[in-house]
Symmetry: C2
Subunit: 253 residues, 2 copies
């Protein structure tokens, strides 16, 4: 199993939207995908329409529970989910000074690895212990960047954190790439930010951009990824294109 | 001085955009405004074009520095800023178990209060010690809500936290209100979410909505609030309307 952390501390970058919809698009191509929600907001969990989860991932991080006990099937074929719950709200503080807190998730994921081709970990908009734990557990990090100038500011801080995790916790942590999200091609500003992103990170920035598409904002109210909610939408098209490009970066079809 | 915490743990809600542009719109009406940036991303600080800030607010929170030493004038008449800096990135963890950490900001703001009519505190997208500290220091909390369904999910958690702060740290903490942000009137979804917000919080939701307006996304690259960057834009209009409505809620002109 390959583990991808979807991370960017700038709020509203498109982390949850990318984790959920990329998972669904990869499942359409036959991959068995585990989405792991470590965000106390539990947006990925509610997006899949999963309710009454009990403690969810909190059980695995703070109470020795196993991933295979916590995971649930979603309505999307090929996608399972380790749900988050409100229990996580206190976890950042509880784990902050716990010995080895940052490597708990990596240890918990190992026994579950055989059942999946890949895991996508949705993280909160912070660089705290939950996000660092996801980076420590990951083979690569995928960075959604909203096509606004404020989002570009946060990249340097994120990459410094990735560097620190690679040095101290996870020497094999790589960068899968940056993906421009919520790109409104009607505005010059959106285009300019994408160009700036490509200039700064030419190799790492995906060719695929995720266009602003209201279907992506509507889909969570129906508990479905955009591929199921509106398979002909620009949102579905873009996440399928991203899935294809991710697979080609891995050299597989 | 009246202190307003601008808070919502959902990322990308419009907290920074509201803190910066409401401050500028209130200053246009003659108020002396202090913007306090407690977000490690320092987006409000970079929006005002303030660089080389030294430790900024970190000095006040973690090292006994005074607000009046840390504050700087901005290019906007009537608006001063207590800047954030990258030093804050470690503060959440450093302060998490510090005795009395949650009331440090309130104590630091007191001596600076005479110089201003109001303070607007921009917070990070978490419910950690930096945001709780801002709530503990505030007279009221202003909650920007992006007009997307995922944003509505977070309100219950935020209001529970506000309740807890009122019970344990700051009994006079009130709710100034919710303001719908990034409302795209071209989409049914945006309208429906605003209607749902008004239904759930009829008294507390501002009549003013902040429309999606690219000038608000462009303004940070020019280091100016939208009122200076493009005073005739929908963004400037909406934040002026919000300023007027905020003042009328306080019963002043
Ligand atoms: N391409 C898109 N088109 C339209 N809306 C989008 C798009 N991508 C994301 N959104 C919407 O923008 C908002 C922010 O996206 P999302 O919640 O996925 O970001 P996030 O990085 O996970 O946020 P947080 O920092 O709170 O975890 C959501 O309301 C989502 O529905
Ligand atoms: N009304 C609007 N119209 C267009 N763009 C907007 C509007 N309000 C905010 N934005 C843009 O949306 C993004 C999110 O807004 P902002 O950064 O103010 O939210 P935030 O809640 O402060 O985010 P964070 O959770 O990261 O602190 C920014 O790129 C900003 O420029
Ligand atoms: Mg999210
Ligand atoms: Mg902000």
């Amino acid at each position: 199993m390959r583990t991808i952390a979807v991370a960017m501390q700038k709020g509203g970058s498109g982390k949850t939207t990318t984790a959920v919809n990329l998972a669904a698009a990869l499942a359409e191509r036959g991959r068995r995908v585990l989405v792991v929600d470590v965000d106390p907001q539990a947006n990925a969990t509610s997006w899949f329409g999963v309710r009454d989860v009990g403690k969810g991932i909190f059980d695995c991080l703070c109470e020795n529970g196993s991933i295979s006990d916590a995971l649930v099937r979603t309505a999307t074929a090929g996608v399972d989910l380790v749900p988050a719950s409100a229990w996580l709200v206190g976890a950042e503080k509880a784990l902050a000074h716990e010995v080895g807190a940052e490597t708990i998730l990596r240890r918990r994921l190992k026994p579950a690895a055989d059942g999946y081709d890949l895991a996508l970990v949705d993280t909160p908009p912070t660089l705290g212990v939950l996000t660092v734990g996801a980076l420590a557990a990951a083979d690569q990090v995928l960075v959604p960047v909203e096509a606004h100038v404020l989002a570009l500011n946060g990249l340097a801080q994120l990459l410094r954190t990735v560097e620190a995790v690679r040095d101290r916790l996870n020497e094999s942590l790589g960068l899968l790439g940056m993906v421009a999200c919520r790109v409104d091609a009607r505005t010059r500003h959106g285009i300019e930010v994408v160009e700036e992103l490509r200039k700064r990170f030419p190799e790492q920035t995906f060719r695929t951009v995720i266009r602003e598409n209201i279907r992506l904002a509507e889909a969570p109210s129906f508990g479905q990824p955009v591929t199921a909610y509106d398979g002909k939408s620009a949102g579905a098209e873009d996440y399928r294109a991203l899935a294809a490009e991710v697979l080609s970066r891995w050299g597989v079809g």
